[in-house]
Each structure stands twice: as structure tokens, then as C-alpha cells.
């Protein structure tokens, strides 16, 4: 018996199942096609930018047909077999159109991507709509039993489709992230300073040897190492005792002091930049490593203090109390018990302030203007100035500089992110 979708029979569980059942394939397609439409629009716009108006026209046709397909998918329901046949026909048309368009135009990577985004969904529609389950559903001859089976089958399929969706989204994001990195690798390995051209056609190490044999690179690296290590040492020397005191002691002025650390973290650096520069200038600390070390260790101080306080809070108090009972002095407790226990946290904080100093650009640019006091960030940026654009050398140098940093970051990502969120978001 074919029931009208709008009729509602109370009490019959089986009929409810039939009413509720929509194959998961159809629902997934209904969710997928808006994205297809967006990508169609993107490709239309891209063809306009290329001034390839024929392709733009066919892209707009594809958009139109996909929109019709989406509309039909929304209308597709139990007992509407003719719509199902129409859906299959139209997807076949899209498939044909996209292949024709791909064959007619220039075939670079992005064209393949666009072709895949129009043909695979169409193919997917054909495959899933012609499945026996869907055919049965669309013909309206589904039995109660098969609808119940279908409902339980839907859950599995939905999960599977969800996974595919996740992979698609993540793959796109990864491509967006990785392409510039691949490109810079290509520039570093290609001869000359060309920015475009074929990917990894000719491979040469000339830029790496240029950079490694240039004096200025080593001078910048030396400055950066001095500044970063100095910042780490000074920053830790200031932050460890303060973090410990905030975590363990209740003393007069504690709340005000903690609040002032918070306040500083919220300060935009800009309000400090100009007076900082003038103070450093008056003290004769411009064009020196010491000026940068002082500035960096204080800028990183609030976050370091909060990170360390967060860690000290997790060290059990009983340890200290036992040591105090056994006759240790407060200082001994700190040096002999707490500090050795907190080496991991101290290491993470050290890494954090090292990375911050290693990557900082604005203060280094402002304070150290003579070339022999440049740090790596300013030095590398000076390779791409308006006087000369040594892209190849810059690419090689930036790979050399960022590789160790990236490895450190990835290796310690969990701790760094935990520490940062403890210091930055909670604080």
C-alpha cells in the first residue's frame, strides 16, 4: 500500500519508521551540494579573473545545473521515482559538462581540483541514488521492516560520511597550510631568484651555500643566539621566584601584584614602543644585545610567571610542609625540593621565552638599526628590501632558521599549548 507522506497514522510504530526514514546517502548529498555550489562560484570567479569568459560561462551553467540538482534532491521523497530518475540524468549532465570543461581549458593543478569538485559529487549522486535501497525508497514500495533496517543502517553510514567530510575539510586546510611551505622549499632549491616556474625542476644547493658562507648570516645568528639565551636566563631568574611566591605565599600586596602582571599582559605593545625606544636611547642601550634582552625578558615575564604559578600550584604542598618540619629553611625548600621537581615546567617556560625572543621582530627592528647588531628576523627581512630581492637566499635562510624552531615547537606542542592556555586564557 502506498501511503501519502502527509497522512499520519498514530500508534503504528512501523509506519513511523517508514515516515522517518530517509536514506543517509540522500541527506549527506543535500548537505554536500551547497559546498559544491560555493566551489562552482569560486571557479566562476577564477575564470573571470583569468578573462577566460567561455569557461566562466560554462562554470555558471554548472552552477545553475548544480542548483537545480540540489533543489531536486531536496524534493526527492518517498514515492517520487520520477524525481530520482531526473536526479540521475542531471548528474550525468554535470559529469559530462565538467569533463568537457576540463578538457577544453588549461590544465593546471587548480583546474584538476575544480574538475574533481564538480565531477566527483555528480558521480557520487549517480552511485548512491541508484543503490537498491534508495531505489526502493524512491519507488515508495518499501516495507516497514526494511525501513526499520534502513534506520539502523543510516547511523553507520552517517558516521562514515562524517568521517569523509572531516577528511575533505582537513585535507583542504592542510593543502592551504602546506602549499606556501612547499613553494619556499622550491624557491630555495631553484637557481636564481625566480619566484614562479616549474616545481622542483632544477635542484641546486647554491642558495644554501651562499647563506652558510655569508658573514652577515652568522653575525645575525650570533646576535639572535645571544639575545635569546640571555632572555631565557634573565626571564627565568625573574619569573621562577615570583611564580613560586604567587603560588605558595599569601602576603600583603599579593593581589595587587598579580593584577599588575595581568594588566601588563593586556597592554598593547604599541603604547610602550616609543617611550621604550627613547629610554633605551637615553641609556645608550640601542644597538646592543643587552637592550633587547632586558626588553624581551620583561615582555615575556607576565606569561612566564603565570605559566610557572600554574605548575607550582600542582606540586603537592605536603612535600614542603614535611621538609619544613624536618628543619629545612624556606630557601632550602625552594632550591632543594621545588626546583628539581619543576624542571619540566621550567624547561617549557624556558622554551617559550626562547622562542618568543628568537621570533620577535618589532623591537629588534626599532632598537638595533645597525647591520652588525641585527637579529635573524630583521636580517632576513632585510634580504627582501626594496634595494634587492634575494628571494633564493632568503628562502634558504628562512628554512635554516625555522626548521629547528618548528621541530622544537612540534615536539613540545602539548606542553607549550597547555602552558600558553594556562597563562594566556585563564590568566
Amino acid at each position: 500500500m502506498i501511503r501519502n507522506a502527509s497522512s499520519f497514522s498514530m500508534g503504528e510504530d512501523g509506519d513511523l519508521a517508514r515516515r522517518w526514514y530517509i536514506p543517509a546517502e540522500i541527506e549527506s548529498l543535500r548537505n554536500l551540494f551547497p559546498f559544491v555550489l560555493v566551489i562552482n562560484l569560486v571557479s566562476f570567479w577564477l575564470f573571470i579573473l583569468r578573462e577566460d569568459f567561455d569557461s566562466a560561462f560554462s562554470a555558471s551553467m554548472q552552477f545553475l545545473v548544480s542548483a537545480i540538482l540540489l533543489f531536486m534532491l531536496k524534493k526527492l521523497d518517498r514515492g517520487k521515482r520520477f524525481i530520482r530518475d531526473g536526479v540521475i540524468g542531471i548528474s550525468g549532465l554535470i559529469l559530462l559538462l565538467s569533463i568537457l570543461q576540463f578538457l577544453s581549458g588549461p590544465q593546471i593543478t587548480i583546474d584538476i581540483w575544480m574538475m574533481l569538485w564538480s565531477s566527483i559529487p555528480a558521480l557520487w549522486v549517480i552511485l548512491s541514488v541508484s543503490k537498491p535501497v534508495v531505489t526502493l525508497w524512491a519507488s515508495g514500495k518499501q516495507t516497514v521492516h526494511s525501513a526499520e533496517l534502513g534506520l539502523s543502517r543510516n547511523r553507520k553510514i552517517k558516521r562514515f560520511h562524517g568521517m569523509i567530510l572531516r577528511h575533505i575539510a582537513l585535507l583542504h586546510a592542510v593543502a592551504f597550510v602546506v602549499l606556501p611551505i612547499l613553494w619556499i622549499l622550491d624557491v630555495a632549491l631553484s637557481p636564481g631568484n625566480s619566484l614562479g616556474g616549474g616545481f622542483f625542476e632544477i635542484i641546486t644547493m647554491e642558495h644554501f651555500s651562499n647563506i652558510l658562507s655569508s658573514d652577515s648570516f652568522w653575525v645575525w645568528a650570533r646576535n639572535s643566539v645571544i639575545v635569546s639565551i640571555g632572555t631565557t636566563m634573565l626571564g627565568l631568574a625573574l619569573a621562577i621566584p615570583a611564580g613560586y611566591a604567587f603560588s605558595r605565599f599569601r602576603f600583603r600586596g599579593r593581589d595587587y601584584a598579580m593584577f599588575s602582571f595581568l594588566l601588563v599582559q593586556m597592554f598593547p605593545g604599541v603604547i610602550i614602543l616609543v617611550p621604550y625606544f627613547l629610554v633605551m636611547k637615553a641609556l645608550g642601550l640601542l644597538n646592543s644585545s643587552l637592550g633587547l634582552i632586558l626588553a624581551y625578558s620583561v615582555t615575556a615575564l607576565p606569561l612566564c610567571v603565570w605559566m610557572l604559578k600554574g605548575f607550582f600550584d600542582t606540586v603537592p604542598k605536603e612535600l614542603e610542609e614535611a621538609a619544613l618540619v624536618d628543619g629545612c629553611s624556606q630557601n632550602q625548600v625552594f632550591w632543594r625540593i621545588i626546583l628539581p621537581l619543576s624542571i619540566p615546567a621550567v624547561a617549557v617556560t624556558a622554551l617559550f621565552s626562547f622562542l618568543a625572543a628568537w621570533n620577535e621582530f618589532l623591537l629588534a627592528l626599532t632598537f638595533n638599526t645597525s647591520e652588525d647588531m641585527y637579529t635573524l628576523p630583521v636580517g632576513l627581512a632585510s634580504l627582501i628590501s626594496s634595494t634587492g630581492q634575494a628571494w633564493g637566499d632568503f628562502a634558504a635562510a628562512s628554512l635554516l632558521v625555522s626548521l629547528p624552531v618548528v621541530i622544537l615547537f612540534i615536539a613540545f606542542q602539548r606542553f607549550l599549548i597547555e602552558g600558553l592556555s594556562a597563562g594566556g586564557v585563564k590568566g
Binding site: 592542510v174 606556501p180 613553494w183 619566484l195 611566591a245 599569601r250 600586596g253
Partner: protein, 492 residues
Amino acid sequence: MKKYLVIFALVIFCLPPMVEASEATQLEADGDAGYRKVGLNWLMNSPVEANTTLEIWMNESSFSDTIDATKHSMIRVGNVSGLQQPGFGEWYDDCSYEMGDGAYLPVYRDSYGVAVVPQGTIGVNCTLTGLPSGIEIHLAVLTIDADENSILSSSIASTSIVNDVETVVIETSPYIFAIGSIALSMIALLFVLRWMDNRDGRNTSRSAHFYIAPAILALSVLTFYPVLYGIWLSFTNADQSHLGEQSFIGLNNFLTVISTSGFFRVTVFTLVWSVVNVAAHIGFGLILAMALNSSELKGRSVYRTALLLPWAIPSYISVLVWRGLYEPAGALNDFLGTNLNLLADANGARIVVILVNIWLGIPFMMMSISGALQALPKDMYEAAEVDGIDAFSRFRFLTLPNLRSALIPLSLLGFIWTFNMFNVIYLMTDGGPNLDFDGPGSTDILITYVYDVAFRDGAYGVAAAWSVVIFLMLVAFSWTYMKKTNATEAVS
């Protein structure tokens, strides 16, 4: 002799057809006119007519077309009646003119501060401020007459290496005195606090004040002192030439800030920049965090590591790499099969800098939101799934409301960071295109413009006033944001 004649004939032959505009000739430049200042004088080959514009263009290498150069300043030729004739020392283009009698008079200024000279001017003498030091600068004058005919002076003046030696020596002792007194008063304060604690018999805190002393001292000397000093600076006329002997000038700097020609534009762009960036960071971060938030996902750690890369790579490197990608010859055009030069177009450059900053900021938001997502109770979702709630409704009615408490502080933090993001714009475009010397460029945000005001023009007092204005804007915004979000929370 014949050879010279031939060359002469060739030169005559090659001369461009006569245009109406008079050309600037005999350019002479001098790189030693002061700290990052260049002197430039020239003669016009005929007295300039009304409604002509003279533009000074500069570049670090010689050029024969303004496409390769940067405009420094312009002088209008026109009616000067009713205009002020202020003196020297206040403008980034201090110019004087003469009308054939050898007497140089300071130029007039219209209401926008643009230099105006009367028609019939023959010679101009300028001191140009804010030039890159340590290199030679090449300068040329472009004449544009009333009919838009333009002629670039065929003689290009090159300076000696631009002076980088400060003429002003700052007295160190006041700073030492200020720092010393701040340090001493902090030490005294800590001692008093400790004494009070001792008096009250608080045992655990006997050494607490010693533990925090180094950090507190460093913070007060190296952060609070500069902040206060900066606020004081914003009320003074401190600049390249009045440093150390600056005097109080009230709110004049703030008036200068508000009457800057691009004040409104740069503020609006800064807001657009921040809001679009933060929205995109949170939007994409949320999508990616939810995509990653499944223990069944294959290759999850690979994905996560790859997506962390923009955070792990030093930001200045990523920005420069993106700049290379967007160059006309860069890989982006190869990749898209297009022929774009986005960085040369104002709106294109705005879109580009925002895109690059979106790329940079997503990982932080993704990881923060990931942490918040993992803290959400799993059984809530299981219950919803059993009840047949579809994925979108689960997101809308379960995930979003529960993430609210994490998203509000995150978005505020992101806003403050983005508002003050210097690297992206400085390294991508340096505020350009359409970079002018008397206002912010097309892609300048507030902080990059402050940097220009302070370190290109040397106007420290004005830059400090800008900083205070920026800070007040941030405080006002954060305050209203907190109020609004709290208010809606109370209602719901």
C-alpha cells in the same frame, strides 16, 4: 669633434616633443641636511603656471619612471592669497621658493598642510624628512600641469649617503634619576609590606617579598615607567629636534592625531582588519577543531601537526613567504593561472594582508577551541544522537552555547592581538600602496602608522599621542564587549 656633434644631434633628436609643463632642472641633493633629512633644490626651466603640481619622487636606485619610485611630497602652484606662511621646522617637507630675484621665502600652506607656491616660481629649495638612512637616495621632480600633462625631470639628483647621526644628544641623568627613584620606592614599598606582614605575624610569607622583588622591580622599571613616560610624552612636543628639551604643549598632539587626513580611514580599516580576522580565526578554528575532534579519525595527529605549522613557523618568515607568493611573478599566479598584481591595488592589498593574517592565526584558535571541545561532556552528545538530533542542531544548540564561555575571552584576546599585529602589514606592504608622507597608506593599520610617525617622521610626541588614542580605543572596545556579552548572558 664630429663625434660630439653627432651625439648632440642625437640628444636633440631624442628630446621629447615640447609639452606645456615646465621641467625641473639642475636638481641638487644633499644627504647631510640632518638626521634622515635630505636637502633638495632645483630650478624650473620656465616660470611655473597656475594649477601646476610639482611632485617630489624618490627611490633607492635611479629611475626614469614614477612607477619605480615613491612619492615623497607635493607642491601646488596657485593662488596664495589668504594662506598662512608658517616657518620651517614643522613639516616633513620644509620648502622655500624664489621667483627669480634670488630671495627664498617659506612656502604657503593650505588647510590640508599642502605646500603652495605662487605662479611664476623659478627655484625651489626643500628639506625632506623621514628618508631611509645609510644609503643614497635618488630624487626627481614630476611636473603636472593644468591639462594633466606630466613631465619627469630628466635630471635625477642623487644624495650622498643619508645621514644617520643623531644631532640631538639626550641627557641620560633624568632617566637614571627616574628609574632609580622608581626602583628605590618599590624596594621601600616591599620592605613596608614585609614589615606589616611580620607585625601581623604571617609566618609563611616571611620571604615572599624577596621572591617577587626582582620581577616587580623589572616590571615597574621596564614596563610601568615607559608607559607613564609615554603618556607624558603625548603632551609634549618631543620630536627629532626637541628631544631632551621637550616642553608641555597640552592637547596639541591629540589635535594633530584627530586632524590627520586619514584618521577616520585608518581607524575604520583597523576595525575591519581586526573583526574580519578574529571572525575568520574563530570560524575556521572551530570548523577544524570539530573536524579533528574524533578519536576514530585516521591520521589525526598528522593532520594536527600539519595544521600547527603556521603557528610554529616564525611569523615574519611566513609573511615574507606569502609576499613572494603574491608578487606578480610569484607562484600564486602560476597556481591560479591568472595574471594578478594584488599588492599594487589598494583593495587587493587589503584583502591580501587579511588573508595572510587569517592563515597565521587559525592554529592558535583551533588548538584553544580543541581544548574547550574536549572538555564538553560526551554523554550529552550521545543522548542527543540517540534522540535523533541532526548534526547541525547538535552544533547549534549544544556545542555553541557550551563553548560560549571559552569563545568570549578568546575572541577578546584575539581582537587585542590582531589590533596590534605589526609584522604582517609592515612586511607585506609597509602600509602601501599609495603611500603618502602626510597620512596613512591604504593598508596601514593604527600600529603600523604609529611606527611610521615615530620612526620615519621622528615625531615622538605625536606618536605617543597616537598610542594613547589606540589604547583608549582598545579599552573602550573591550569594555563594551565585556558589558554586552555579560548582559546577554544575564538575559539567557
